[in-house]
């Protein structure tokens, strides 16, 4: 402490840092989320913070934004010590944050959302005009105009994010923290976001970009800090590093960023979907006349911005929901609206399903790992093959799978909620692949999963394909779709925009198709 102070008063380098963290530590119970974090941010730069899930990035940012309190350590803003006890403190010090899950109120207008917390008086009327003007001014400066009277629920995700950024800027933020901002965006929207960030930087705003996507770090940042296991493991100038080095720092070992994929050898058709359609509970058409097929031994990627029909499609194919129109044939079995189906009968048809939301449909978080390892297979030898569940057999089964899939910690009696995202996903994958399905429906297999586990899961999928399994891969991560798929079907508003071959596809064209613009690309 004494030395730090001495340095500062002697007028060292600290002056040019808009933000400096010194030895920030924070633990939650036994878990040390942040350990002696040092970080220096230069004013007017875009500084990336990269790390796997659970590396402590979000905790650090929440400390910075006053949502958590650090156990120890110092924060300096413009060289002066700052005490941030609440979001209000952070805001008044000029720190704004765009959260991963937007802090917007869907039923409110843009204006009401932007005003919240800084209304400018006990009645709204006076502040309204000022806010509208401020929004207009900011919109013009940074090229992100938004209709102040629009309801947030009517805006698309990209626009909502703009509202969040405007909210922070309106509060006079000099330092803007963006937590995983591109997770929900199309590639085009992400590009637009980066343009906005560029403009922010040009106007002197300092941006802190939290992400686990290497490409984004390389594309936009000036400097990057890498976190692993609650610690800062490195700081780099972006121009002096490359994705491979960053990945290794993140994971702590060598990783393959691109899984090697031999050419597919498709065989007979495993799944044939014919003019499939279905309606939402409100009567909107969420799947519209969808026709495609998947062959054994190939991976069909389904690309699209989330919410464009992928979820109902997966629900229908896995038996969770019935089609309203059309039919599909799985391994020769025809299923339409009158067929009695359930996820159970689908499993009997040799279909595996890795649901896109593992917390909702893949696992019971309050159950122990070994129980989760047999969910949906209670009538098979996985539970001992008797009328009653054989706990010892289930424990053994789970222990074997945990060895096979390197699930850590290797304790079948641990609650599913105690595992990290990657290990939770491995539990689901281990369960669904155990019976060697002929058709595998995979949704967002690597969402919230760390780089090491991504590599593992991708390898598993390729291996399964080469054993002759037909795989449908639904993902909003274009890199994942491009890296794994043999063919790619792009969906928009429940319809097929186009289907392209995996090796002919590129992110730009796919992005346009995801926005609903057909390229006339052929099969």
């Amino acid at each position: 402490m004494m030395i730090d102070k001495a340095k500062k008063t002697s007028g060292g380098d600290t002056a040019c840092y808009i933000l400096e963290l010194q030895k920030i530590s924070k633990s939650f119970g036994l878990v040390q989320a942040n350990k002696n974090i040092d970080l220096q941010i230069e004013a007017g730069t875009i500084h990336g913070i990269i790390g796997e899930n659970g590396a402590g990035k979000s905790t650090l940012m929440n400390i910075l934004y006053g949502l958590h309190r650090a156990d120890s350590g110092e924060m300096l803003i413009d060289g002066t010590k700052a005490k941030i006890k609440s979001s209000a403190d952070a805001l008044s010090l000029g720190i704004g944050m765009v959260h991963q899950h937007f802090m917007l109120i869907n039923r409110f207008s843009v204006l009401e959302n932007v005003m919240l917390g800084s209304e400018g008086g006990s009645l709204l009327s006076s502040g309204k005009i000022a806010t509208v003007n401020k929004l207009k001014e900011l919109g013009q400066t940074f090229d992100m105009e938004v209709d102040p009277n629009a309801l947030v629920s009517d805006l698309n995700v990209g626009m909502r994010q703009r509202v969040e950024i405007l909210k922070a800027l309106k509060g006079g933020a000099k330092i803007l923290i963006l937590d995983e901002p591109t997770g929900v965006l199309t590639p085009q929207e992400a590009t637009q976001l980066f343009d906005i960030l560029d403009k922010l930087r040009a106007n002197g705003v300092t941006v802190l970009l939290i992400t686990h996507k290497l490409a984004e770090i390389m594309a936009i940042t000036d400097n990057v800090s890498i976190m692993r296991g609650g610690e800062m493991v490195g700081h780099r100038k972006t121009s002096n590093t490359d994705p491979q080095e960053l990945a290794e720092l993140m994971v702590g070992r060598k990783v393959l960023l691109n899984v090697e994929k031999p050419k597919a050898k498709p065989k007979e058709i495993a799944l044939n979907v014919n003019s499939l359609g279905c309606f939402s509970s409100r009567g909107h058409k969420v799947l519209d006349d969808l026709t495609f097929h998947v062959k054994a031994g190939e991976i069909l990627g389904i690309a699209g911005v989330s919410g464009n029909g992928q979820t109902p499609l997966m629900e229908i194919l896995s038996g969770m929901r019935k089609p309203d129109e059309g039919y599909f044939e799985i391994l020769g079995k025809k299923i339409d609206r009158d067929t009695k189906v359930s996820p159970f009968t689908m499993r009997e048809n040799s279909i595996g399903h890795i649901p896109e939301d593992r917390h909702k449909h893949g696992l019971i978080l309050g159950f122990e790992a070994y129980e989760n390892m047999v969910l949906g297979f209670h009538n098979t030898e996985m539970t001992g093959g008797k009328k009653l569940l054989d706990k010892n057999h289930m424990l053994m089964h789970a222990a074997e799978r945990m060895d096979e899939y390197d699930i850590r910690p290797r304790n079948p009696k641990l609650l599913a909620s105690s595992f990290s995202g990657g290990n939770q996903q491995k539990i689901v994958v281990a369960r669904e692949l155990y019976k060697n399905p002929k058709l595998l429906i995979v949704g967002e297999p690597t969402r919230g999963v760390d780089v090491g586990a991504i590599e593992f899961i991708h390898k598993q999928l390729i291996e399964l394909r080469d054993q002759g399994c037909a795989i449908i891969l639904v993902s909003v991560e274009l890199d994942e779709i491009l890296g794994l798929s043999d063919r790619i079907l792009v969906m928009n508003k429940g319809q097929e925009v186009s289907t392209v071959n995996g090796d002919e596809a590129n992110p730009k064209d796919l992005g346009l198709m995801m926005a609903g613009i057909s390229q006339g690309a052929s099969n």
């Binding site: 958590h68 403190d89 944050m97 869907n106 039923r107 009401e112 800084s118 709204l124």
Partner: protein, 323 residues
Amino acid sequence: MMIDFLFQTLWALDATLRVATPLMLCAMAGIFSERSGIVDISLEGKLLSGAFVAATIASLTGSVWLGLMGAICASVMMSLLHGFACITHRGDQVVSGVAINFLASGLTVILGIAIFKRGGQTPTLSSGERFRPIELWFVDALDNVPVIGTIYRELISGHSLLVYVALLCVPIASFILYKSRFGLRLRAVGESPIAVDSAGVSVTWLRYRALIVGGVFCGIAGAYLSISHGANFVREMSAGKGYIALAAVIFGNWRPIRAFWACLMFGFLDAITSRLQDIDLPLIGEVPAQLMSALPYIMTIILLSGFIGRPSPPSAIGVPYKK
């Protein structure tokens, strides 16, 4: 014939207003509390404790105003208790609300017996110890104007002060909710407390304030029951009005003006109930009194089971806020 019909209607509307007054106040209390994300099933208990304290203090001191203040204090205390359980300690809001209702139900009777030894009732108040009907201006002057004069005298004028207070509360509640900073934050905290927190506003304090406002409204409603509409406190005198008010909040889709109309509808049902008891209706015959008294509750069930369309409650209602 025409005049008779006019009087009948006026009489029914007049009774409607009297019966709907505590409903309106409680409904506004419910809206404030629920819009902030706190389920308020304890309206009933707050109403009852307000009624008891108002009658007790008015009887002991002879002052209506002290009675009213006491009612408000008692009801706010109940609100704070509710807040302490489910805001500070993040308890289950329904459980806490039900507990408050039980507490009010038991405590009013026990304290009533301890203080007055009349089996839980309070002594009948003299007219000076109650809010009396007030004549509005120009009643006599307008008497000569046909119809309007009668309507003015019979329906609009001649209610106790608290009826007018209740009527005023509706536009005031609406104004606060939609035009003030407090209202914006209140509506926001019921939709997304984390958004409010991240905007640098205290969720806890905001929700407490909402409950306190609700407590004030319920206290006035309680005082109305025992020292304005009635002349003493009778055990369980709230008789489900808090629950009906909560139903009105839901009918009104958590909006003051709509909830106001729902309160009037319930009040009207209640008012004609006693009127219709002895009358032979064509085809149906004489309707049993019990059925008529149950009508508001039956209507509630029918209407709530889908006749009013999909209600859209505040998104974060019932969920304790935890960082």
